[in-house]
Subunit: 402 residues, 4 copies
């Protein structure tokens, strides 16, 4: 795909699809892509349901696939999560049809689609490279609630806000009943979300795949902190909150829980055992005047998995702002002949992008960041080492999103 | 306990305890009880942790149990859920101590407590009758998220608001992925909460213990409604939402889920089977252009259990208003010599109350109410019968809360 | 309008209009009316923009005014405030057209409308009686954010929740800067909203039209409370919050403020003067270590008017539940031949209603209720009298909404 | 202040103050500073009320100013806005006391404070340079709701989220009544907030100080857009939303409105006049079937000023995360001997900072950013020029906050 070719087209027709898990910012990105195309005189083609629609495009008559209008764009609520044009996790290669790519390409040809704007995560980034391999120019708009792309992505800020609120709110339950609360959050391979919503809600401990943890360290921090709180409180109340990334390697699985891996439940089980075997607990409960024989001999431990609740509903303003920016950016990039790239955003008049294959390389939580938070009292399940940052003076104004 | 006795006391000392599950309105009720007592010149005694504190009261020195002050009352955030004075589900009889009642009574005597204000549900209502049996005057402030007392209770309105928001928000996920969503909510024996948050979020089907349901009826409504929505939508999207009361009798149990009974998971499993066995689904999926061989041959079905998320965090204004009213009411009732009664609220200068044993009789969802909602399109899993209400003219202004 | 006439109609055609200020619950009421009619086989006619649509109905062709469908009803988001079918405060008699009623009646006749369901407040209730006078059967669904009808109405609970949240949140500003905050809320003639959101947010003083207040009483409570809080706080912080009903008679008006009467601003001005003239303030500021010569010699006083923010956005679950109930009730009432009545709601299989002329009589805040809250520490600007409620045992289960 | 000197101190005593307007993130920054100091073995000294406390520090006995404890830090709710240690806009030079600096320095000396962490905006940045001039080492943590520092700052993200929600919610009111809504938001000199919350809520027009606007352009966009929406809607409803930065130069002032400049009210007045003088409006109203003689001859125009509501209550997760990061960063910077610098945040093990005098230079909204949004349909009151971004490939992973 050459830049000139696309610019020579009288009416560039660009398809818009979303893929992967739903989250905040998808609607903003598709709205911006559609509206920017309309303003530039292009024809935005909405492909319903991501790869579902791409696979079935050939079955639609030409009259059924008309360019999106302002009225259609205005029907999209950019302040809400989810993808109003429909979404799927399905990859073309997973389809039980040996001619699935032929079918996709025939649909693309029939509806004269010149290129695709694909809004999705790392899997979708890889899928977009397959589109390109099959001859469909493609620009990638980054989305992942896991925050594990090299680029910033839509979706995470909304989820972090929701989760931080859920965790912070859950403390009213924990404190009423003197319970330990364990909250399992998104993050199949990385702990970005657990870290951000954990510190964002002032949780006590945060367990993430990047940090090798010793549950004994957590248990000791829990015991000390919890009983300190009981003893300090005029009503003997207190809680201790542990945020667990679902990607934590734990053996117990909770079946049928729609994505929950059971990491939180497993940590809960193990902590219950530790507490049961701890001879000091009864004395501590007695000293805190919380001991009741047979029925309240140790603090209770409960786990919660917010699941879909974390990804639905309102979208944060940051995700809307960033979604609009990268959605528009994709139009400029594709119309100028780029393909195989991931949009990073604008810095003044410059549109920054990365090669998609580089952008989707998994990003892990940085250990220095963990150390910084450990030195602020958050427990990550390991002994705290002194954090000694290097100081660096920045001389020119930093690039920034907001 | 005679009215005169209490009024003769120079400084009436009344203990305040909360019991049962935590929820919205508990803080308002205890705040109002404490502040009203302070204004009336009584001594409010906060008993930490409900029965935990009652059992351990004897261990506190007299100097440690001082009347609550305005400063203490102001430290209670009445707009937040939970009980800031601590809470427990423990009943005295469950305690592994044959002399637990003696211990309780000794504590009551040591700290010269003249009576108790007990904020809790039906179990707590029964417990309050046991206090009375043991000689402790007691007034009951109604609390139950299940709404199944004869009296209105604090807690439910906050939970219904939270759940209605969660369900309404979850639709962004359902619509993005064309999924059926099943949400299991509180209600161990009754369907009040499921009904109120179900209609409050415009869910499609509501399954409650009071209504014998045929899942086939739900399935047919689901199929018709969902594909109507797909076909009506310009992007082929849609969802169908089922709210399930945890008290629904279902066989599968999901272990270790902190109170979730698995009713929602069971309904999900059964619906998946029905859908799998339904020969028409593939044709409907094809007609809706959603069929993708091997990977999208039927709509997905997912279940969520909000659990603690529904009871924590913000308290609704109604629960605060009502909590303040009944918390204050309990002080007037107890100080005028009442015991064994449940506070209903004020109607102008009249404080309404019921005998606790009558107030805590379980209240079920009224079948006529269900019929009314069925005739509005909500599915309860049975054929819809015509609702024919009797008309009744009310001539004098109705009693009301707000 | 006779009952039989309506029931003989094969297809009863009922128009639905909303009128007056927008608020929560309107969408629920209209949704329920439409869906109930569709289930009963009637033809729901949506009249856009209330009296605007009624006046212009004659200009629509018969094909343009078709019965609402399920698809239309589903497009209404019952969890959101406002009226999606359009709303106006205009009364027919205000229209600058001597033949406005003729025009309305011609439209009604042209589109064969058999009766109206009118969702609105006291003004709308009066307007509905004019429809009837002109021969249009009419049932009234109560709506008023002011809560000043005899019947419960949709809208207020949503507004009270929003306002209580705004007031509660505003304390973070007040406490940071040691400010007195004055918040002016809805309530043109009555103080229900100010009372409910004031106690719902634990405000300190509440000024309402029903209670003759002495600002000196407020000032003294403010001074004592505020400096107590400063002195009690380890960081010398504190706030004092006054909620003012817009209907409070104050002389200063703040022009162009979309409904704000300036009552809050006037109270602010008067309190500033009192504080300026109070010789003790400087000493108190010094004692609290807050005195800074020339720039911080007295606590600041600020006022806020939330206005439209209080009536827009989310609808509370109670307003949705109640809106659905009374919206459906109106259909049953009208179809059974009632007219000139206001729907109160269902009690099991009984539909309760009042004559509209009785239902819209203004309801004032009860003085005993004020006394009850005064005895809990809320300041209403007058000396506190002892509240001595009469006790009343309720023997049968109370009627209730939830 | 030399690096070595500070590191030699056995117990570094660092004062923490906040200054300027209250907002989200202040509590997180102070919490992180205190907790990091406690972990590093330093003594965190909380100075109550910013410069108020600094001025009065000399009056506290040595025993009254003790290092903050973990218990104190835990009493700070980092998820809430405002500054729990107290805040003020007062600058030392404004104090009516010729010896104010002497007094400050005496207090600093008396309590052996080695340096200050100052959390505030540009004015506070300038004030921090005055502290340094008087010999008090000082590190600046950036805070400004206006977003107009060169560095990212705490507070804005929370405010943008609140405002975007308020604006988005207000549409239910606008659409119900077919109104034009004008919302005036923070931004005394720059339009960052107006821009971010305007696009974040999908407002229609955004007026900011950086863009010279022609109200005629806005009016024409309004007229076209609004009547398009009326005509497209099956219920003739629609709204048009204009977000106005308070810093917009407008002549009319609305007195006594606590910071509101009247820019929104002025725009409202001018648009009303334009609409009144526009001969076409009546025809358009008639065509949209909205015309009612005398009472509805043109769409209504209303303005709202959210004021304090935008800065109070919840803090966004981003502000908490960033606040924790820069609050901790300040401790590392100060303890390593830096002074006169503003913290930018960490990039892995590197702590980035700028000279405060550079960091507080006012940053304006970039015109290319405006162009990008104009090409997406947002109206800024000027003709839209084609946006032609330069494309730039980023080769190494970008620095990022989350």
């Amino acid at each position: 795909m050459k830049k000139k070719v696309l610019q020579n087209l009288e009416k560039l027709r660009i398809g818009v699809i979303t893929a992967g898990g739903d989250c905040g910012g998808l609607n903003a990105a598709q709205y911006a892509a559609i509206m920017t195309m309309l303003n530039l005189g292009y024809e935005p083609i909405v492909i319903p349901g991501g790869n579902i629609g791409l696979y079935n495009l050939i079955d639609y008559s030409v009259d059924e696939i008309l360019p999106a209008t302002v009225a259609f764009a205005e029907s999209i609520d950019i302040t809400r999560a989810g993808s109003e044009i429909g979404n799927t996790r399905i990859k073309i290669k997973q389809i039980d049809d040996p001619e699935s790519w032929e079918r996709v390409l025939a649909g693309i040809k029939k509806h004269r689609i010149d290129g695709l704007i694909v809004i999705g995560g790392d899997g979708t980034g890889r899928e977009s490279r397959r589109y390109i391999k099959h001859g469909i120019p493609c620009v990638h708009v980054p989305k992942t609630m896991d925050l594990d792309l090299q680029s910033l992505s839509v979706g995470a800020d909304s989820a972090i806000n929701k989760l931080a609120r859920i965790i912070s709110d859950a403390k009213t339950t924990g404190e009423s009943h003197n319970r330990v609360l364990i909250i399992e959050v998104f993050g199949a391979n990385t702990g970005h979300i657990a870290l951000c919503c954990g510190v964002g809600s002032n949780a006590d401990a945060i367990l993430i795949p990047e940090v090798e943890y010793d549950l004994g360290v957590v248990y000791r921090d829990l015991k000390r902190t919890l009983f300190d709180r009981f003893n300090r409180s005029s009503t003997n109340t207190g809680t201790y909150v542990i945020v667990v990334a679902e990607g934590l390697k734990e053996t117990e699985q909770r079946p049928g829980n729609g994505g929950a891996t059971g990491a939180g439940a497993s940590i809960a089980t193990r902590l219950k055992t530790m507490m049961k075997e701890d001879k000091e607990i009864v004395e501590l409960m007695k000293a805190a005047r919380l001991y009741v024989p047979g029925v309240n001999e140790a603090p209770e431990i409960r786990d919660v998995v917010p699941l879909y609740i974390a990804r639905s509903g309102e979208t944060s303003a940051l995700d809307v702002n960033f979604g609009l920016e990268v959605g528009a950016g994709a139009v400029y990039a594709l119309s100028q002949g780029l393909s195989g790239v991931t949009i990073l955003g604008f810095n003044k008049g410059t549109l920054n992008y990365m090669k998609t294959k580089n952008a989707i390389e998994r990003r892990y939580v940085d250990d220095d960041k963990v150390k910084m938070f450990e030195n602020m009292g958050f427990c990550f399940g390991r002994p705290v080492e002194l954090f000694e940052p290097t100081l660096h003076e920045v001389k020119k104004p930093p690039e920034r999103l907001y």
